[in-house]
Symmetry: C2
Subunit: 272 residues, 2 copies
């Protein structure tokens, strides 16, 4: 398709759940003119404890749904899908595909002085996706990873800036800094975590007693999308549209706006 025509096509974003709406939020700030199609595979969330073959199959299904809506770019806002299905998704897609791990890893390497901490879900930490991506680019960087299982339900409950959030962040980050007291850069390796970035940054600085660079992988993905689209970005003045789809819609009305940072007109239920 010609670039002038494709410019008007939407960007497609998928995630295993609602966390990927933090990527949509970042996209709407960086590329406000773009139309966006979002798909949350909420009926099959989480992907983190499924086999690589299953994650690949589910991810290909999500991508096909987006490609059928003629997106010009696919964004995988799910760390597990990025870690396990990116090659298959790239191969199956006629348009560019951006994963969740690479942009965050690149951003971290751009700012670190040599000591990177990565936090995420058990599934993402178990996949070693971040240490692998970071080590492949700069083997001299020391990477320390920690799973923080309470952060996802904390973000979903909306308890993001109170005493409970503070104590939980403190308990996890004390463990992380015990493993490497010299951490200077902290990657939020889960799309839920941007909701907790305020408390995470505050507590990290408290513990370290010095500034810590926070790399929000949702922001890093939005920047990567802008770079990828280049002159193919839709730079019209009007705000772009947002169409949201999900494979199960229970509790979405309550949770989803917290991640998007604005009200959502509605989710359309789809069966993949």
């Amino acid at each position: 398709m010609g670039q002038e025509a494709s410019k008007r096509y939407p960007i497609g974003v998928f995630d295993s759940g609602v966390g990927g709406l933090t990527v949509v939020r970042a996209l709407r700030r960086v590329l406000p003119g773009e139309d966006i199609v979002y798909l949350g595979d909420t009926a099959r969330v989480p992907y983190g404890n499924k086999s690589a073959r299953t994650v690949e199959r589910y991810s290909l299904g999500c991508q096909k749904f987006l490609l059928d809506r003629r997106v010009k770019l696919v964004m995988i806002a799910c760390n597990t899908a990025s870690a396990q299905a990116l090659p298959a998704l790239v191969e199956a897609s006629p348009v560019p595909v951006i994963g969740a791990v690479e942009p965050g890893a690149m951003s971290a390497l751009a700012v670190t002085k040599g000591h990177i901490g990565v936090i995420g879900t058990l599934g993402t930490m178990r996949s070693h996706a971040y240490p692998t991506a970071l080590g492949a680019r700069d083997p001299s960087v020391k990477v320390t990873a920690l799973a923080c299982p309470l952060f996802v339900p904390l973000a979903e409950e909306g308890w993001t800036d109170d005493e409970i959030a503070h104590l939980i962040a403190r308990r996890y980050l004390v463990q992380l800094f015990e493993r490497d007291p010299r951490i200077d850069t902290l990657v939020l390796g889960c799309t839920h975590y941007p909701l907790l970035s305020g408390v995470i940054e505050r507590v990290a600085i408290e513990i370290a007693g010095r500034p810590i660079a926070i790399v929000d992988s949702a922001n890093a993905m939005a920047d990567a999308a802008r770079d990828q689209l280049g002159s193919g970005a839709n730079r019209r003045a009007n705000a772009g549209s947002l169409a949201c789809f999900a494979t199960d819609i229970s509790r979405l009305d309550e949770i989803a706006p917290r991640f998007l940072g604005e009200p959502i007109s509605s989710f359309e239920l789809v069966d993949l």
Copy 2:
């Protein structure tokens, strides 16, 4: 099979994950002579966000695994599977089947003065399994249910009796007692929650300013097993054996002993 022969057969327990080990722990206290076969479908946990048809299919697979090991009794230590698959499991089983919901509901009705609170996962609360079971037996009882999504990761982290656990329990239970200040009986409707029963009971009493009866559904299930087996229980003097199986074994060594309350020799990985 003759009762004398079958007496020596094991009891089978399955759950979507490791939480059902609290039922095994209760069983080993109430029926110490019994051999137990445990299966955790950890590769497909949680069942709570899956369709009823899928939950039924997975549950039948778990039960078949146990029946192939010649169990004399099947116990469904998973609230979702109990709520959605009990009829199919009973129909497919030549031996008795005990679900997770009925025993807890019966125990609560036996002690309540008319106001029951039920807490559990989002999936279980959404299924209305407890209000339905309670209402069918005594429509005059007022039932108030609340999902407490942070309790499962809290139990899995082992943060069960500290400031964080206390604050989280307080935040949830204040909401519950606001909805019905006259609650006198609280059902722990999730197999993870017995690990938090201490803090839950203490906080409930703090809020109510009077005693609250705590119904632990794991204990209620063990009592139901004793009643069901009757003279078919194995009352030998030696402690029974425990064989544990799981469909995925990541992090089990760390988490499982917390639920069982004793070390576990090992989990055997199985593919259903």
